[in-house]
């Protein structure tokens, strides 16, 4: 009963994802609709790649990058909040907040001279940019835990590992999740721009449409990217509601 009630908030992201799926599969059939936007052009449906392929590529880039940033960023946050790594805490914290002032486009642009064009450069850029919010939130979440809780956990005879997995990470989960959510939002937006550095993403129709003056392409790409971002954000919001509140 309680389990069902907790799953409740999931209907929203499910609906949005279903809509996204519907669009991805049927956009190509709505030629007459897009003809209204772009009456004088021969081709009004982007067809270099199928939308489902682009969506899949986009998701893969974002997923790879966010999982990478989560693993690296969370490890860093855990390390600098242990006694041994405490010395690095101020520097890492400062670095993460400074990193967030660098515009994501600039990170993407700088990845190209180092890594060349294509998917790898895009993933690495997304991953690096995604680190900053996860590290910051990770540190904030782990440090925000009531000292008395940690002391009593130690006092009860929990080992350092048990405290980390059973107490610290669950208590910091909401804050960490917020960091992952920010990272994902940035990654989806920046991956779209990744089309300009040679990655295949949902940004392709937009860029191609902008270059060729084809607004129909632009709208197709923008619609899908916007919907993707909104559905994933709704998913995060559902997960956040599902996590037990700790305050």
């Amino acid at each position: 009963m309680r389990g069902l009630a907790r799953l409740g908030p999931l209907w929203q992201p499910c609906l949005l994802l279903a809509l996204l799926g519907l669009l991805v599969h049927n956009l190509a059939n709505w030629e007459s609709l897009f003809r209204l936007v772009q009456p004088d052009t021969r081709q009004v449906i982007y067809s270099r790649d199928s939308f489902s392929y682009l969506l899949w590529q986009h998701l893969a880039l974002v997923g790879l990058a966010v999982v990478g940033s989560l693993m690296i960023g969370l490890s860093a946050a855990i390390l600098v909040t242990r006694t041994r790594g405490r010395a690095f805490l101020p520097l890492v914290n400062q670095l993460a907040s400074m990193g967030q002032t660098v515009p994501p486009v600039a990170v993407l642009a700088l990845a190209v001279p180092v890594l060349g064009f294509g998917n790898p450069a895009t993933v690495v850029a997304l991953l690096i940019y995604g680190l900053f919010p996860i590290v910051r939130n990770g540190i904030a979440g782990l440090q925000g835990i009531d000292g008395a809780v940690l002391e009593s956990a130690r006092g009860m005879g929990m080992s350092a590992m048990q405290i980390l997995w059973q107490v610290e990470l669950p208590l910091a989960a909401k804050v960490i999740l917020a960091g992952v959510r920010t990272s994902t939002t940035f990654a989806i937006a920046t991956a779209a721009i990744g089309s300009t550095v040679g990655a295949r993403t949902l940004g392709d129709p937009i860029i191609s449409g902008l270059i060729n003056g084809n607004n129909a392409y632009v709208i197709q790409g923008a619609l899908l990217i916007g919907l993707l971002a909104i559905s994933l954000d709704a998913l995060f919001s559902a997960v956040d509601k599902w996590l037990p509140s700790t305050h």
């Binding site: 008395a148 809780v149 006092g155 009860m156 005879g157 929990m158 080992s159 048990q162 208590l171």
Partner: protein, 320 residues
């Protein structure tokens, strides 16, 4: 049971605990009292190695604790603190079951233990087991904290001002319950407080600390009748020391077994009441005697002001 020998703790440039000697016997309730920063909490936390000591020896059951694994050691000792430190993401039952789970008890035994402890602390398991800490009142949370400390059935219980944040009535209730439970269980307890009245009420032995040293230790009576120095008598509350002492004695210790002329409408007092309560009742009724009743309201005897203040001849006020 617990032996501290010339135990010291130095922090960067301060000495928090300065070569103290203390031995606590099995089953004893030893209360460390002092102002904040006197080293009482540090001493307590050195016993379960939340703080490592700098010098000296600390033995539990005859074994130096630095030879024991800190984590294993802590599982053998209950620990309750002022801010409870309950895990906010776990239910009351999960919180209480923590140490038994760490000790790998079977599930059914853990559940049984949780129920037993909740009932012991007057919190019906059916009502409270599945609640989260933030749904509890301060007093209830503190009960759960104590239950959690007791759950692994430790021989030793360490308590750091567990009741300090509670209102006076809840605090007094919990103190009474603690005493009741302890009499049932016979645990060794080290209890830290800054509240001298709490110490006088609970302690078998009071250890008064100041600036990292033990100033005096002994029973409540010994301390009240012979404070070692000005600091101790200050701490004991110089002005109402007499009243405090009176609160430690029961009426039945001083009453006369004489019920001649007993009249039920005259002022009376329970045999278990303290001398302080008796004095208060005499003041209230403006009368220098009270009838003493047992718990069935049957007269047991009589207590007079002179029984409470046995004046010596040379101190008798000169009459004109």
């Amino acid at each position: 049971m617990i032996e501290l020998r010339r135990l010291s703790k130095h922090f960067a440039d301060t000495t928090a605990v300065d070569a103290i000697d203390l031995s606590i016997a099995r089953g004893e309730l030893c209360v460390l009292v002092g102002t904040s920063g006197c080293g009482k909490s540090t001493t307590l936390r050195m016993i379960n190695r939340l703080i490592e000591y700098s010098e000296g020896t600390l033995m539990v059951d005859g074994r130096p604790i630095d030879q024991l694994d800190a984590v294993q050691l802590r599982r053998r000792m209950g620990y309750a603190i002022q801010s409870t430190g309950l895990f906010p993401h776990w239910t009351v039952a999960q919180n209480i079951g923590l140490v038994p789970r760490l000790l790998k008890w079977p599930k059914s035994k853990i559940a049984q233990r949780v129920d037993e402890l909740l009932n012991l602390l007057n919190m019906p398991a059916r009502e409270f087991a599945d609640k989260y800490p933030q749904q509890l009142s301060g007093g209830q949370a503190q009960r759960v904290g104590v239950a959690r400390a007791l759950a692994g059935d430790p021989d030793i219980l360490l308590m750091d001002e567990p009741f300090a944040a509670l209102d006076p009535i809840t605090r007094s209730n919990l103190q009474d319950e603690l005493l009741r439970i302890l009499h049932q269980m016979g645990k060794t307890i080290v209890f830290v407080t800054h509240d001298i009245d709490e110490a006088l009420k609970l302690a078998d032995r009071i250890v008064i600390m100041d600036q990292g040293r033990i100033v005096q230790q002994g029973s409540a009576h010994e301390l009240l009748s012979q404070p070692a120095n000005e600091f101790v008598s200050q701490l004991l509350g110089k002005a109402d020391r007499g009243l405090k002492q009176a609160s430690l004695r029961q009426v039945q210790e001083r009453m006369q077994p004489n019920i001649q002329g007993y009249q039920s409408e005259q002022p009376s007092i329970s045999a278990k009441a303290s001398l302080k309560q008796a004095l208060s009742a005499m003041l209230w009724h403006q009368q220098d005697y009270l009838w003493v009743l047992d718990h069935q309201q049957q007269p047991q005897g009589l207590i007079e002001l002179a029984d409470i203040i046995p004046t010596k001849p040379q101190h008798r006020r000169p009459r004109s």
